[in-house]
């Protein structure tokens, strides 16, 4: 069970509730009276945005005090989520945006990436480890995200998808 506020907990439930952050925030927020802090961006659908999101993830993870290997895993998972949003969700459409939010609740890092695409059903994704898929040139992003994060949640936004990546601080390495 995540050690988070009841309000936040309600928003983490898969398939329920509205996004925690307003869609067009672009500033760092410090939650009053708590150790938690939040950063959120709205970005265009470009590789520059992917790089920015990855760099932010690295900074947030470093600030949270996790070790270098964990910083690598978190920033890589976030990069994969951002690539999915920009490439597969928004298809580099300049009219569509990606949002990225980063929150340190004190006990967890919670990163949310959203796109405005047609939606993603993770149950339809082929298993990249299956022998018949092993030599495919793509399809490993979600697998790596799940390998590196403690929790991964998908939520359909109609349109778009919200991917929530959670790393419990102080937990053992996930991979």
């Amino acid at each position: 069970m995540l050690d988070i506020t009841r309000h936040q907990q309600a928003n983490f439930a898969y398939g329920q509730c509205e996004p925690l952050n307003a869609p067009f925030q672009s500033e760092e927020e410090h939650l009053t009276g708590q150790q938690a802090s939040r950063i959120s961006y709205t970005l265009d659908s470009s590789l520059d945005s992917v790089n920015k999101v990855e760099q932010t993830a690295e900074q947030v993870a470093r600030k949270a005090g996790v070790d270098e290997d964990e910083i690598f895993r978190i920033s890589m998972a976030v990069r994969e989520a951002a690539v999915n949003a920009v490439l597969h969700g928004n298809a580099y459409d300049p009219e569509k945006h990606m949002t990225a939010s980063f929150e340190n609740t004190g006990s967890s890092l919670v990163i949310r990436i959203t796109d405005e695409g047609k939606g993603l059903d993770p149950s339809t994704l082929p298993d990249p480890l299956a022998p018949e898929n092993l030599l495919r040139g793509s399809g490993r992003g979600i697998f790596l995200i799940r390998s590196f994060m403690d929790e991964v949640h998908f939520r359909q936004l109609h349109p778009g998808t919200e991917l929530t990546l959670i790393k419990h601080l102080g937990s053992a390495p996930t991979a």
């Binding site: 790089n51 890589m76 994969e80 490439l87 495919r136 040139g137 793509s138 490993r140 790596l144």
Partner: protein, 116 residues
């Protein structure tokens, strides 16, 4: 953030010395173009030296796989050399480590290619 790539020939084997990041839109495209260029010139014994590659994402991994299958389908051989720990771990996680012929010594890597 772009990938560095240089080419050299040793005993009939083309070695691509890669450095930096192999990621979507950057190194992955360079890698693909380089391998295709070599194949177009009939150079089918290819060794990817990843000793200076400090980061690879799933797109980069996919490009390694695509390069491997493309070279193999054209009757060639593509092998990997000097994996960093991170790249090694990623190939392990994705079960690709046993797909590729991975070497940690250049001389033995070159000697392992078919003498056709």
């Amino acid at each position: 953030m772009s990938m560095k790539i240089s080419t050299r020939q040793v005993d009939g084997v083309t070695i691509l010395d890669l450095g930096g990041r192999i990621t979507l839109g950057e190194g992955s495209v360079q890698l693909r173009d380089s391998v295709r260029d070599l194949l177009s010139k009939g150079q089918k014994k290819i060794l990817l030296n990843l000793g200076e590659v400090n980061y690879i994402d799933s797109s980069g991994i996919g490009e390694l796989v695509s390069a491997y299958t493309t070279v193999r389908n054209q009757g060639g051989e593509l092998k990997l050399l000097n994996l960093t720990r991170k790249v090694h771990d990623l190939l392990q996680i994705t079960k690709l480590y046993t797909v590729f012929d991975v070497k940690d010594d250049e001389a033995s890597a070159i000697a392992s290619y078919s003498r056709a």
